[in-house]
């Protein structure tokens, strides 16, 4: 592109005005549209589709990205090139500067320059004009560069967000998860070209602590073992402390449920005994889940609908539960048989303790144990390294730019014939109004008698 065309393009697309209008449009769209959506029950996936998928939002993001790149890249080049020395400020016009400070000092410009150099300033002395200029923190612009670079990284990460894969699996104590698709309770649908999260582990122990007798988890953690680098390792997994299997692949303990160990004597003649541990969605108490049972020589399908009451001290039919932790559990079970026409025929209801048999049709069902089961969430977030880098780079840039702004200091002889009169001007590029404070402070540091009220 010819340089004049590039300049026009740069002025148009990379202008500060476009930056402000884009930000303003973004704010306005969120305020009048997205925020009300969040308050009026619009489902989260729909809001996500609007903000991420609608053309006007995408246009806005595109404009902002182009604006940031076009606006900043040439400016940084120029800023870094000219950063080494103080910006020109004519010595004979310092007194007219609106933030100038008067001072008195008998030292020569060279001596003052020496003191400034000791304080970390880069100094240019003009002995003939009786003036000097100094600069420090000259790479402050790099902070701005990093901050805006992080926005570009966020955008790259945003493109990777749709490639996130999430799945859930219910694993009880002593059981393993192989990572196979059929082992998922809620199988993820990885985007094209992505595999399921690579994670395999065994739950050794699951601990759930409740606050008093309330439905309120004080602690929920699983001790798991997993293979890494040909060695078996043990780790603790919680909701807030996932176990990482790769840079963006991890598993966390997202929920709690029960697993029931049962024995099914599926034949009245005592053959075909089946023992199994099965995870059920029975928490909190009162939630009903069903177990599929194959009974008899014809393997007819039966359903056991189960509710788990973890701690019921009273005997008899009472389901007066006093705790969420497993103590003296009872199970409320109703059985049905699936008929050929697809309907279910009720076979009866029971309230039983562990070990008490339930006899139905030609089978006997006994629940032997209740275990804790963890609902593990497996997540593969390819954007994690990008977004984390963006956050770190952005925050470093933000702090660098704002807390260490470029400072410039100008000193020139004041009134003609008065060898001790000086004029000081300070400039802080991020915080222009504090330039006067800089001049006052450094005037005093240099041993000058500063006229604060001037």
């Amino acid at each position: 592109m010819p340089s004049s065309s590039w300049s026009r393009f740069e002025r148009l697309v990379g202008s500060r005005r476009v930056a402000q209008w884009s930000l303003g449009t973004w704010v306005a769209l969120f305020v009048v549209w997205v925020v009300p959506f969040t308050l009026t029950g619009v489902p989260e996936p729909r809001i996500k589709r609007i903000v991420g998928g609608e053309w006007y939002f995408q246009l806005l993001y595109g404009v902002l990205l182009v604006n940031v790149l076009v606006c900043l890249l040439p400016r940084w080049r120029r800023a870094l090139r000219s950063a080494r020395l103080p910006s020109p400020l004519p010595a004979d016009r310092l007194a007219e500067h609106r933030r100038s400070v008067g001072a008195r000092c008998a030292a020569t410009p060279g001596a003052l320059g020496g003191r400034l150099a000791d304080g970390g300033w880069t100094v240019v002395v003009d002995e003939r004009a009786g003036a000097l200029a100094a600069v420090r923190r000259r790479f402050s612009t790099v902070g701005s560069l990093l901050l805006h670079l992080s926005l570009a990284l966020v955008l790259v990460a945003a493109f990777l967000v749709p490639r996130t894969t999430t799945g859930q699996v219910l694993v009880s104590e002593g059981e393993s998860f192989s990572g196979a698709p059929e082992d998922y309770a809620q199988k993820p649908e990885p985007p094209p070209g992505r595999a399921l999260p690579r994670a395999a582990f065994t739950v050794e122990k699951l601990r759930a602590d409740f606050f008093e007798d309330k439905l309120f988890f004080k602690d929920l953690r699983a001790a798991v073992t997993h293979r890494r680098a040909d060695a078996t390792r043990t780790a603790t997994v919680r909701l807030s402390e996932p176990l990482f299997f790769g840079p963006g692949t991890f598993v966390s303990l997202a929920g709690f449920n029960h697993a029931l160990a049962y024995t099914l004597d599926g034949e009245s003649r005592g053959r075909a005994v089946r023992r199994e541990i099965v995870g059920v969605d029975s928490f909190p108490p009162g939630s009903e889940d069903k177990i599929r049972l194959l009974v008899g020589q014809r393997l007819s399908i039966h359903w056991a609908y189960v509710r788990v009451y973890p701690d019921v001290p009273e005997d008899g039919p009472s389901l007066h539960n006093i705790s969420f932790a497993v103590g003296r559990p009872k199970l409320a079970v109703r059985m049905t048989r699936l008929l050929d026409d697809g309907t279910e025929r009720p076979l009866g209801s029971w309230v039983v303790r562990l070990g008490e048999p339930i006899r139905f049709d030609r089978g006997t069902l006994t629940f032997d144990a209740i275990k804790y089961a963890g609902l593990f969430r497996l997540v593969d977030v390819p954007s994690l390294p990008w977004m984390s880098s963006a956050f770190i780079v952005g925050l470093v840039g933000l702090v660098w730019r704002t807390l260490l702004p470029r400072e410039e200091l100008y000193l020139a002889r004041g009134r003609e014939g008065d060898a001790e009169a000086w004029v000081l001007v300070g400039r802080v590029d991020y915080d222009r109004a504090s330039g006067r404070g800089l001049a006052l402070r450094w005037g005093r540091e240099l041993g000058m008698s500063v006229e604060a009220g001037s």
Binding site: R16, Q20, L23, E44, I47, G286, M387
Partner: protein
């Protein structure tokens, strides 16, 4: 110890400090009575927070009651720091923060003071850091909004507000506050988003708190750019900062009245005997 008594004490204490400050306003430094009064109330406030933390085992960040205590404590810290260090903006800090030091505990009276351990989703250093930056940013936003109000009020009634520092100095403090609020909000968003990925596998939950925080961040970015690019100052800058107030209040407090957010922690406690019918 549940400690519901602390809020009336704070309302009376900080309210009294406000009255003492108004009475000595314009009569010069050191504003002795108001300063010592505020320090005494702050000491009670701090002692209560420390004791509560020791008993319940976590910093005050769970539910509205604890958060009004944390937010008001952070505000009182800012005022005391400005006062004891005799900064040029101490009167601005008093004027900005004192109404909130009464309003926030008053708001907290609506909520139970019960001692609850942290639930599992809040047991993380990320949450502690997130909340710390949130209340720090809220602090400086309160300061910026209060200072902006005074700038505009002085335009209208210059003879009554002679104690407000000169316009240029106010602009400097205001811009620094906006910058700090921007840094704080950036940290709040970054830590919150990262933790959101760990919890849900999603960087953004499209719910009111996170969305309004993004709006707040964008609005603060706009003000920073307006100052740097176009040299905004005086009433123009003040109006821009005031426009941020509704977004900031939504972002920081909506969760205490609106339950449809992942930030709501005034959890109704279901007893085991009531579960499952």
């Amino acid at each position: 110890m549940s400690g519901g008594w602390i809020l009336p004490v704070l309302i009376a204490g900080y309210g009294g400090a406000a009255v003492a400050w108004v009475r000595v306003l314009g009569r010069g430094d050191p504003r002795g009575v108001a300063r010592w009064w505020l320090t005494a109330v702050f000491a009670v406030h701090t002692a209560y927070l420390v004791a509560r933390w020791a008993v319940v085992g976590h910093p005050p960040l769970f539910g509205t009651f604890e958060n009004v205590l944390a937010a008001s404590w952070a505000l009182a810290t800012m005022v005391l720091w400005a006062t004891w260090r005799r900064t040029g903006w101490r009167d601005l800090a008093w004027a900005s923060a004192l109404p909130w030091l009464v309003i926030l505990p008053g708001w907290g009276l609506r909520y139970p003071a019960r001692l609850l351990p942290l639930t599992i989703s809040e047991r993380s250093l990320w949450v502690d850091v997130h909340v710390f930056f949130a209340w720090t940013a809220f602090d400086v936003i309160v300061f910026a909004v209060g200072t902006s109000s005074l700038v505009l009020a002085r335009e209208r009634w210059p003879e009554r507000l002679t104690w407000v520092p000169e316009a240029e100095a106010v602009d400097v403090w205001l811009f620094r506050a906006v910058t700090l609020a921007f840094i704080g909000t950036s940290l709040v968003l970054a830590t919150g988003s990262y933790y959101s990925v760990l919890l849900f596998g999603a960087w953004v939950r499209w719910e009111v708190v996170q969305v309004s925080s993004i709006v707040l961040w964008l609005a603060l970015a706009m003000i920073v750019h307006a100052r740097l690019f176009y040299g905004w100052g005086g009433p123009k800058l003040a109006w821009a900062v005031l426009a941020v107030l509704p977004v900031a209040v939504t972002s920081y407090w909506v969760w205490s009245v609106y339950r449809g957010t992942y930030h709501s922690f005034d959890i109704p406690l279901l007893r085991a005997r009531d579960a499952g019918g």
